[in-house]
């Protein structure tokens, strides 16, 4: 019925993934916008179509896949895990073992992408299930520290397994996003080189972005679907009251293992895609900071929600670039403009080594924070800020906005 979107008249309608017209329309519009970005059609968003922004958006898509995995483990099943970067590393190194260049000093079998990409996810999932029993034995914050140990132990292995990873600080090249039938020279479809589609010039980065965006969409729908399945409901029961769930017939052990397995699958795929996309990765890449980034993503986005994982990824990945642009803009205001705005900007920005300011914008080092440090400080403050003020994250903010307009003008 129009005007009553939440009135469902059948079980299917109630359980549908997109159960209101608004959701369907929004998803459709969002998808169209994302697809159109590389073609720079929409005014105001044209700058996003440039190569460096497309690279950032591609990274967002990959991080979203990883975040969805962590969301299933931590947000849905309630298992705190700091070990996400370890499983991403496993996925990446499985991919390079199977898909890497043959014949050189490093291990590689040269297999095509339809072998190494799923294998990356599956092997990571298997290792996730293998780690499971140890993780299930401990609870709560002990689990967080055990998964922390996983990251350090994993880093040790990656750093020392030179023939696979290329060695500490050196790294190796990863198989590219190219589709082949088996091991032929020229790929059937190459996502990394520019092409001409119906007269429109499309760069390699644009093609990669479209591919990764589609992957992200598929995984998002899969994750959203998980929530309404039996397994998903079992996860939520374990998160809320695991003993009660066990009494009700939910096999706690099996489901916790499954949660680790599924989230590691997502992590493995994300790790393989990230390494392939960046083309060269050192073993130190899969460190604690990466794990913390994912925790931050799901918390800032909104723990337990699929939308939150995607929003959070966009936020965390795009934040450094936004801060950089903002600082450059402040710098130009401080130096070129005059008036109050310029003086305020001058307080924040130091344009020369002698100038005082919170942030340095010149080439050397000075009293203030560098842009990279400002990024980190803002990142940390945002994590803290969201947890203190808006525990539901960006999704929570969206809920407030939506509810405000739902009841408007009767907002009391």
């Amino acid at each position: 019925m129009r005007g009553r979107p939440l009135l469902h008249t059948s079980y299917e309608a109630d359980q549908a993934l997109l159960n209101t017209t608004a959701k369907r329309v929004m998803l459709g519009v969002f998808f169209l916008i994302v697809i159109s970005i590389p073609f720079q059609i929409i005014p105001g968003l044209k700058f996003l179509g440039e190569d460096d922004w497309l690279r950032l958006l591609s990274t967002t898509a990959v991080f979203a896949i990883g975040a969805l995995g962590l969301n299933i483990l931590t947000g849905l099943a309630g298992q705190v895990s700091l070990g996400h970067s370890f499983f991403m590393g496993i996925g990446a190194y499985t991919a390079v073992w199977l898909g890497g260049a043959v014949g050189g000093p490093l291990i590689g079998l040269g297999l095509p992408i339809w072998v190494w990409l799923p294998a990356a996810g599956i092997v990571a999932a298997l290792i996730g299930v293998a780690v499971g029993p140890t993780a299930v034995r401990v609870r709560g914050l002990y689990l967080a520290i055990v998964t922390l140990g996983l990251v350090f132990i994993g880093e040790y292995f990656f750093r020392n397994w030179n023939s696979l990873t290329g060695g500490s600080q050196v790294g190796r090249d990863f198989p590219r996003l190219q589709v082949r039938l088996w091991k032929e020279e020229v790929p059937i479809f190459d996502f990394t080189t520019p092409a001409n589609w119906f007269g429109v010039e499309v760069s390699g980065v644009a093609k990669t972005f479209l591919l990764l965006a589609v992957f992200a969409l598929v995984f998002t729908l899969l994750a959203k679907n998980l929530q309404r399945t039996r397994v998903g409901r079992a996860f939520m029961a374990i998160r809320d009251r695991d003993i009660a769930a066990e009494i009700m017939g939910v096999n706690e052990f099996a489901h916790k293992l499954l949660a680790f397995g599924i989230s590691s699958f997502y992590a493995g795929i994300a790790g393989a895609l990230l390494a392939s996309f960046v083309t060269r990765v050192i073993p130190e890449r899969w460190d604690l900071f990466l794990s913390v980034q994912f925790i931050a993503i799901i918390l800032i986005g909104g723990a337990g929600t699929v939308t939150g994982a995607v929003l959070g990824s966009a936020f965390v990945v795009l934040l450094p670039r936004i801060v950089q642009n903002f600082t450059l803009w402040l710098q130009s205001v401080a130096t070129e403009g005059d008036g109050i705005l310029s003086s305020i900007a001058n307080v924040f920005v130091a344009t020369t080594p002698e100038d005082f300011g919170l942030v340095n914008t010149f080439a050397g080092v000075g009293p203030g924070l560098s842009v990279a440090q400002l990024n980190l400080v803002l990142y940390g403050l945002l994590i803290i800020g969201f947890l203190i003020f808006e525990p539901l994250g960006l999704y929570g903010i969206w809920l407030r906005i939506r509810n405000y307009w739902k009841g408007w003008p009767f907002t009391y």
């Binding site: 044209k46 190569d51 050189g104 050196v170 960046v278 903002f326 450059l328 080439a363 990279a372 003020f389």
Partner: protein, 458 residues
Amino acid sequence: MRRKSKWLALLLVLGLVLAACGDGGAETTTTAGEEPTTTAGGGEEPTTTAGEEPMEIATDVGVDLEAGTITIGLLSDLSGPFAPLVSVINTGHEIYWADVNANGGINDLQVNLEVRDTGYVVDTHVQLYEELKSQVVAFGHSTGSPQTVAINPSLQADGILAIPLTWYSGWSDPAINANLVPHGTPYCIEAMNLIEYLTLQAPDATTIAIASSPGDYGEDSNAGAVLAAEALGLEVVYDGTARINPADEATLAEVASGIAGSGAELVWVTTSPTAFGSVYGQTLAAGFQALWSGAGPTWNPALVGPDSPIKDALARDFYVSAYYAPWAADSVGNQFVRDLVAEYAPDAPPLDYYAEGVIEAKIMHQALLAAYDAGDMTQAGVLAAAKSLESVTFDGLAPDETYVGEPNDRVQRAVFISRPDPEGLAGGTSTGVSQVESNYTSPLAAGFEFNETCFQLG
């Protein structure tokens, strides 16, 4: 609580809007004075300006003849393990170009720098390269070897020049260096020089311990040390190749106990300054003493600062190696650096590393001038100009460079050797080193046949 998050939401939206404003198609290059230059995403726009210049100059990215600017990119490590060196090197760039700009620029074109902090992380480096490649005409430096190797294929595909800020011997290998102009003595030849010099200081020594960080930096230097030990008849009693991980305390203790237990008389170590300090200190605690030296970036004058507990021991044991003359050296080139600092960075402390920035900037200067003369200041034009430079001189600051000819003939072999000088540093009379050899090439290094890189990166 509700009010607070509304403001939060507003702030976020504001931030996004500002970001869009700050980046809506127009890229503003640094500092005041000129209009923002608009650059399209890597497209070709040859601008011929009849009437303004006596000849037509082709440009594409990074050179704007109307606005009168040239943009050079710097991919620097300003927050990672070599930040102390690179931040000073960047100041060297700044003061050199400030001087050039004040004296008319490059035929009235002002040079601006776009600096990005890679933190010595490979994927950040790649990302920032992608960001800058459509804004700059060339890269004034690219910090780190795995990082530079990672962007090398893109450099070749995009036809852009970069000066590597590393002394990996691969940069002198024609199979790798189509878009790179190296400078200074490669790590492995440096190791040969210093180790032979150490044997001259301790003629009775027969044993050597070698340790390094993993990667091109440590292992290239390592390869040279092993070659030198073989040629000079030294027994390698401890081999800590690729064992030092500056981020992992346990490896430092491991290497230190290995070196101390080996009883070596000479030690060659290649790593970051803090890792070196820790390893050295722990061997001292175990009662070990020998002659030490290491690759250039292993040294940091802070090691012999007034409060450093190891300063006197270092003054006794260590030999500092560098690719250019130290601050206080007596040459035209050094005086030039000192004058630049006095005029454009008067409050900056005396340090050796400005020279490196000046050297890099000077090479780029020559390349830009040559490109201008050839009428082609596109990215490809600047690259071609750089690769055809026959002679770049530094007036005694560093050995002269040439980029034409056989690799074996033009690879640098000379180093500058100094001893640590804690008293001079404390008294303000030196930058912590006192030079003992200038432009020194040992017989072993002079005779070495350089045909390919000493250490193959994976």
